[in-house]
């Protein structure tokens, strides 16, 4: 299992956000994308997930372009942007079941995932009563029930409190130890074991 980026370039209007981004990421590794605001972190993540097309270069999954049907890339991918894909009028459990139905599922049950992110006792409350941090935790819970080795996360720690960040780091470490891959952006330090982490700094 390997994700490889070859000479990615992206322009937005007249401005070139980045050129010649190349890296390869193996199973059990976390790629931390760093850079200032406006450096193109989110855009890079969108290129890697296939939401946007790069102006130049290519993203390969196991040696095949992520755009080719053979690579089955979407089946392996769990994406979480900076918004939480949740519906305010649905309960936590209903939201999680919906997200579980979109991605390929593993055997973990949704209740267990809610327990894991400490939302077990509000599982039947409507999401509109949640705080921003709780919504983020619920969105992260959807990763736990997805049978996808690659997580691409745009600022997963945003809006989380200290306990929430620690929880995320613990979940991410478990995923990496099981041979998963994570690509994420962050403005904070990430307290995950350095042996997992590879860094990519944009805007230099």
């Amino acid at each position: 299992m390997q994700l490889e980026a070859q000479n990615l370039r992206c322009r937005r209007g007249p401005k070139t956000l980045f050129t010649d981004i190349s890296f390869s990421l193996d199973a059990g590794k976390l790629l931390l994308v760093e850079g200032q605001n406006g450096a193109g972190k989110t855009t890079l993540l969108k290129l890697l997930s296939g939401l946007r097309r790069p102006d130049k270069g290519e993203v390969l999954w196991n040696g095949m372009s992520i755009r080719s049907a053979n690579s089955q890339f979407n089946r392996q991918l769990a994406w979480l942007g900076h918004q939480n894909p949740l519906k305010e009028d649905q309960t936590a459990f209903e939201n999680l079941s919906m997200l579980g139905a979109i991605r390929s599922r593993n055997e973990r049950c949704a209740y267990e995932a809610l327990q894991a992110v400490k939302l077990g006792n509000v599982k039947h409350k409507a999401v509109k009563t949640f705080s921003a941090g709780m919504k983020r935790r619920l969105a992260l819970a959807s990763l736990l029930i997805a049978d996808t080795p690659l997580w691409i996360l745009d600022e997963p720690q945003a809006a989380l409190d200290k306990a929430g960040i620690a929880l995320y780091e613990q979940l991410a470490t478990e995923h990496l130890e099981n041979g998963g891959m994570i690509i994420m952006t962050s403005h904070h330090d990430v307290a995950i074991d350095e042996r997992f982490i590879e860094r990519l700094i944009l805007g230099q």
Binding site: K46, S49, N84, P85, E94, A101, I102, S104
Partner: protein, 222 residues
């Protein structure tokens, strides 16, 4: 397919929980139809003459007004991105959204339409043709309108663009729908008009979701 049925179920639950929003188009439809007799006078002959066109125009406008938020919420909260990056195709997403939107906004309208038709003294034999033409026509309005909505979803301001975009495509539906009812009221057979509507219906529901899916893909990739 699992995602498809989940999505329909989600939409119906959400619509039930936001009943106020879901009934908007029904209220609009009722108001337009009921205000007309007040405006043009309650002569039975006059009303029965304008009834087919009136009910159809009201249904068309009510459907179009309800379209605006078809994909906006899913676009803004990132649900659309999730679908675009899943193994499901966006076509099934589009189909499910359009179908549930039809159930939520158009079905109530079709159910009350006969009542309004009676109150406008439309001849009784034309009423089942009215229901049939609405059954064929309203999905078409929603599926065609969906293309316009999908194209304008990524835009920040799109208030007047949508009607300008989709109205020209609504006109054939309006012509055949209203004239089917009108000829029946005049004592003729509406088979021709209904066949054309049926053909458009099949074309619309088979092809429009593909156009909607590719328009959504463009919106998502910005």
């Amino acid at each position: 397919m699992r995602g498809f049925f989940y999505l329909i179920k989600r939409d119906l639950t959400l619509a039930f929980r936001r009943r106020g929003e879901a009934t908007n188009s029904l209220v609009f439809f009722g108001l337009v139809v009921l205000l007309f007799p007040i405006g043009i006078g309650a002569s039975e002959k006059l009303l029965s003459e304008v009834a087919p066109g009136l009910i159809w125009i009201a249904a068309l406008l009510a459907t179009m007004l309800s379209l605006d938020n078809l994909f906006k919420e899913d676009f803004q909260d990132g649900t659309l991105e999730q679908w675009a990056l899943s193994e499901h195709s966006l076509v099934s997403f589009a189909w499910a959204r359009l179908f549930s939107h039809w159930v939520i906004t158009a079905v109530p309208l079709i159910i009350v339409a006969p009542l309004f038709a009676i109150s406008l003294s439309l001849p009784a034999e034309a009423i089942w043709v009215l229901v049939l033409s609405l059954l064929l026509g309203t999905p078409l309005l929603i599926f065609i309108g969906g293309i316009g909505v999908a194209l304008t979803t990524g835009l920040k301001k799109s208030s007047m663009l949508l009607p300008l975009l989709v109205l020209p495509f609504y006109i054939p539906v309006l012509i055949f729908g209203a004239s089917a009812v009108e000829v029946t009221a005049g004592g003729w057979s509406a088979a021709g008009q209904l066949y054309v509507l049926g053909a458009l219906f099949v074309l619309g529901i088979a092809l429009a979701p593909f156009a909607v899916a590719s328009a959504l893909k463009v919106s998502v990739s910005q």
